[in-house]
């Protein structure tokens, strides 16, 4: 059983699904068959993902590895494997895609729905490959390849002005990607100078490179991940994209694709350039703090629900990055947990906002009010998802936020102090959003508004359930995340400061 190429199957299933869906969908209009097939493949992928999780041994590091030579002249391998971090990201991805499918069932009707579902499956396949890749070149290839389906999903199915949003998205991402390309090429040169060129992560992390090289290459990787994640000041594509894309697309972008940024920081920046990562912490932490506060302020000022949710993510990615670069075990584990929780919570928010916009026909907060009178279930779920976003204890985001904050105070007290304001501001944007849209007297025009349908509930209830369950019982996630973080920090060469507890001396008083 151990020789079975689980990860390859995991990647191939959605890819085949994408092709089948695309072929089935030709000339079929809004027929449900291609959609059902696509959903079937997404569920199948999720089953494979769960099977992988059942075989996973939390203490055993990188596992289920497959390594085949791909391009010998470049030292490139098709190499995949999972560790705790990769597993969580894979599970998040395979979990969210079927949810998005159910929620977006009619989203693309009239505009070749089969294409939407096919692109989404292709995106899933590439994203899974990103999270499983243990060869830097393979990672780069699929990292860039994810942009093509994402581009067509934004440009083909969003709201008015989507073509511009898609172009802006692509230009930012490819710009970051090309900077990353320079760094990836640099890695080849370094690796060739050290003997035989190889892109395997296991070989690269052993290389002893000069400080200058290490720092430059780190900067190249980091720029790409800052665009991806996104962090201030390379975040401007985010709000435009989430505003114009369909909510389902936004979920896949913000909750899955953007995780590649923070995932890459952990896997590649810390894994290959430990010295440079430590060197860069002051700058990265500063950027993270700016993102937290600035993102929250921007979110408060928005009048478009989808823009608002997109910008809350800027703030959240600030937290995640802060946790990573605080370089403590709490920070690292908290960040990984945060990545999962943010994925689930923000997905719920996006999808519920999508339901709301579909009912109201507008996404402007100023034109929506009193929804809880007509659609109490929608309003209630929206409140729960919102409370999770602001870090209410008992919901999952709280656990990760507190871990990151501990790490932040550990790094320096003022870093912790600034990051706390992020939580206060989160309360402002979430509660204010809820108050403006959901509360208030019923609007006569909403008389015909229906509450959530069964299909819509089926999509979001699992997400809400996950928020509650992991809020009370985060141990499975932490068990998977902790070993990865410990290995990484050992590689970086930092150890947690032991808490200093003053011991009362006998006879001092």
């Amino acid at each position: 059983m151990t020789d079975f190429p689980w990860l390859t199957v995991l990647i191939v299933v959605p890819l085949v699904g994408a092709l089948v869906t695309a072929v089935l969908g030709r000339g079929r209009g809004d027929d449900a068959l291609p959609k059902q097939v696509a959903l079937g493949f997404a569920v199948l992928t999720a089953v494979v993902g769960i099977l992988i999780a059942t075989q996973f041994d939390t203490g055993a590091g990188m596992q289920l590895e497959e390594t085949h030579t791909w391009i010998e002249a470049f030292g490139v391998h098709y190499a995949v494997g999972v560790d705790g971090l990769g597993l969580l990201m894979i599970l998040l991805t395979v979990g969210l895609v079927p949810v998005v499918f159910v929620a977006s069932w009619h989203e693309a009707d009239g505009r070749s729905p089969a294409a939407f579902f096919a692109w989404a499956l292709a995106l899933e396949a590439f994203a899974l490959c990103v999270f499983a890749a243990t060869d830097v070149f393979l990672f780069y290839v699929v990292f860039e390849a994810t942009l093509i389906p994402a581009y067509f999903m934004i440009g083909g199915f969003g709201r008015e002005g989507r073509a511009y949003a898609a172009l802006k998205f692509l230009m930012f991402q490819l710009g970051g990607g090309l900077v990353l390309l320079a760094a990836v090429i640099g890695l080849y040169v370094v690796s060739a100078d050290a003997g035989t060129p190889s892109y395997l992560l296991s070989d690269l992390s052993q290389i002893d490179m000069s400080t200058t090289w290490e720092r430059w290459l780190f900067v190249g990787f980091m720029v790409a991940f800052i665009v991806k994640a996104p962090l201030f000041p390379l975040h401007t594509w985010l709000a435009d994209t989430t505003e114009k894309a369909t909510p389902g697309t936004s979920v896949l972008l913000v909750c899955v694709l953007d995780k590649i940024g923070t995932f890459g920081m952990l896997r590649f920046c810390l894994g290959i350039f430990p010295g440079a990562s430590e060197w860069a912490t002051p700058v990265v932490v500063t950027l993270a703090l700016i993102s937290i506060v600035y993102g929250a302020f921007l979110a408060i000022g928005q009048d478009d629900i989808l823009r608002l949710i997109g910008l809350t993510s800027l703030s959240h990615f600030g937290f995640i990055t802060l946790g990573i670069f605080a370089l403590t075990t709490q920070g690292g584990s908290g960040s990984i947990l945060y990545m999962v929780n943010h994925g689930v919570g923000t997905a719920a928010l996006f999808l519920l906002a999508g339901y709301l916009i579909r009912r109201k026909g507008t996404s402007l907060i100023s034109e929506i009010t009193g929804v809880e009178n007509r659609a109490p279930v929608l309003a209630g779920l929206f409140l729960v998802a919102g409370l999770a976003t602001l870090g209410l204890p008992g919901l999952s985001q709280f656990v990760s936020e507190i871990l990151v904050m501990i790490a932040a105070f550990d790094y320096h007290w003022w870093v912790g102090a600034v990051s706390v304001t992020g939580i206060v501001l989160a309360a402002v944007y979430v509660l204010w959003l809820y108050q403006r849209t959901m509360t208030g007297p019923p609007v006569p025009a909403d008389a015909g508004m229906k509450d959530l349908s069964r299909r819509e509930l089926v999509a979001v209830v699992p997400l809400i359930a996950a928020l509650v369950v992991f809020g009370f019982w985060p141990m499975p996630l932490l068990d998977a995340a902790n070993p990865t973080v410990e290995t990484l920090l050992e590689h970086v060469g930092v150890t947690d400061d032991q808490p200093t507890v003053p011991v009362a001396e006998e006879g001092a008083h």
Binding site: I71, E72, F74, E144, V184, I185, G186, Y188, P197
Partner: protein
């Protein structure tokens, strides 16, 4: 005076002779075959000749003599004027493949409603009674096939030349037929003739530079042969000025042919004005041949003088990439845009050329600059031929519609054609899983490895700009409905199997080389180094 019969190694150079032989045969056919059967006979003859030459090239490649334990293979033939080594044979192979594509596009008659894309009677002035008559009588220029064959012969000889004179002769043999071919468009003849004249004048001028360079380098080295020039460069410390000016002049001639800045200004006009099948053939073939010649001249003859010409190439490469990428952004015509993008590609290729290092400086199994450039040329050729072949399909009532406004919304009217074109553009932009990405990666790697990081940084910056103008076309095709100015829009015409086959091969090669580039890279590695 004794006259010794030159020894000619027919076993090595026969593919070259086949091409020239078929070209001459084509002239005979032109004189003796009846007009109505001429087109088919000429097209079949050219296609067959190229196929035989391609088969011969593969056979020759399999029989090359190994040197230095496989580091190089081949032999210096024909009294030291032609060298048939691994890289030369590899270049022959890809030139012949793209020439075959060119013949298929030349022979396409379905798109123009039963006639080819070439003028009925080139001698008839545009807008005259003679032209109308030629058109009503359905006249066709079948001389294009022999012309193409001569050009192919010149292209094959160019990178295989082992002395400066042969190189010059090859340069002229490949250029003269192309000047003619550029002026033969059936539609928009004035544009086409202007392009031909411009190409001819500038080309002749640059050939003059090249010839002057030949004379100066001869003055320095006392020999035309590359091996002797190499010896002279290594040992002779006098007359450095002659050598330097000579290198400069030779570079002007060669950089003109590849369309490097500041010698690029002919590219957009000629690419736009020439009949699109000619543009496709020329864009791929000329560039491959000229880069082959550049590589041979700089690596073999002037390799020891690397420190003089590398900085010059740094500047030219950076300038070429910037000019190509920036000017492509402001184009509103598909053929001009592709022309400027081809200028940018020249810059990327030069980035690979200047990444040359001593074999001893390379790690075991590290990519060489020769490999990188050869691979890039292959990927570039497939994408260019494919893209221009698609351009021939997109038409409105006035023939080929290359203006951007006509292409708006093509993705909805002709989804397959638009998707194929988008794929070629993505490859040119260097998006992973296409051949263009691997090629780009290869040339950037060798340049960075040789320490040319400023060039690589400029190349990355230009790639970002390049992505913008490629993606803009994709936006235009897929996300914009109808013509922005309310004018006519173009649709894709259904081509015959000839054009379809060319496009299909281009797409397949671009995809396969992007996913499994291993075999072709191994082939370039197997080709080994240049032989001196």
């Amino acid at each position: 005076m004794d006259f010794t019969k030159p020894t000619i190694e027919y076993a090595d150079i026969w593919p070259l002779l086949v091409v020239f032989g078929v070209a001459c045969l084509g002239v005979v056919v032109e004189a003796f075959v009846a007009r109505e059967r001429r087109f088919v006979v000429q097209a079949a003859l050219a296609g067959l000749g190229l196929a035989v030459a391609l088969g011969g090239t593969i056979w020759v490649a399999g029989n090359l003599h190994e040197h230095a334990g496989g580091a190089a293979r081949g032999a210096v033939d024909v009294e030291g004027t032609v060298v048939v080594d691994g890289p030369a044979v590899f270049l022959w192979g890809i030139i012949l493949v793209f020439a075959l594509g060119g013949v298929l596009l030349f022979a396409e008659r379905r798109l123009e409603g039963g006639v080819s894309a070439f003028a009925g009677q080139a001698a008839a002035l545009p807008g005259t009674e003679a032209e109308r008559q030629a058109s009503t009588r359905g006249l066709e220029h079948t001389e294009v096939f022999p012309l193409l064959m001569f050009a192919v012969g010149g292209m094959m000889l160019f990178p295989a030349a082992n002395d400066l004179l042969t190189m010059f002769v090859a340069l002229e043999v490949l250029s003269l037929p192309l000047y003619l071919l550029c002026g033969l468009a059936r539609r928009r003849r004035l544009l086409s003739q202007e392009a031909a004249l411009k190409y001819f004048l500038l080309g002749a001028f640059s050939s003059g530079f090249f010839l002057y360079g030949v004379a100066l380098v001869y003055g320095f080295a006392g020999s035309m042969e590359f091996a002797d020039i190499h010896e002279a460069v290594r040992n002779d410390l006098e007359n450095q000025t002659l050598l330097l000016i000579g290198i400069g002049m030779l570079s002007v001639g060669l950089l003109f042919k590849v369309g490097a800045a500041p010698f690029h200004s002919w590219t957009p006009d000629v690419y736009q004005g020439a009949p699109t099948p000619v543009t496709a053939f020329m864009a791929a073939g000329t560039k491959i041949a000229a880069f082959g010649a550049i590589l041979r001249l700089f690596y073999v003859a002037l390799g020891a003088e690397r420190w003089t010409w590398q900085p010059m190439l740094w500047v030219v490469a950076i300038l070429t990439m910037i000019v190509g990428a920036v000017l492509a952004v402001v184009q509103t015509d598909m053929k001009r845009m592709l022309a400027y993008s081809s200028v940018a590609h020249t810059g990327f290729l030069l980035t690979g050329v200047l990444g040359v290092q001593q074999v001893s400086e390379l790690a075991d199994g590290e990519l060489t600059s020769l490999q990188a450039v050869l691979f890039y040329l292959t990927t570039y050729g497939f994408a260019m031929v494919g893209a221009f072949a698609v351009v021939t399909l997109v038409r409105d009532s006035g023939g080929e519609a290359s203006a951007f406004s006509r292409w708006a919304g093509l993705g909805r009217r002709s989804p397959l054609v638009a998707a194929l074109f988008a794929f070629f553009l993505l490859s040119m932009a260097g998006i992973p899983l296409t051949a263009g990405f691997v090629g780009k990666w290869a040339v950037f790697t060798v340049a960075l490895s040789a320490g040319a990081w400023p060039v690589v940084v400029a190349a990355i910056a230009c790639s970002i700009i390049a992505v913008f103008f490629y993606v803009r076309v994709i936006v235009l095709m897929f996300f914009i409905d109808g013509s922005p100015d309310g004018g006519e829009v173009a649709v894709a015409t259904r081509p015959s199997v000839l054009t379809s086959a060319t496009i299909a091969v281009g797409v397949a090669a671009t995809l396969v080389l992007g996913i499994v580039p291993g075999p072709v890279l191994t082939l370039t590695e197997h080709a080994g180094q240049f032989l001196r």
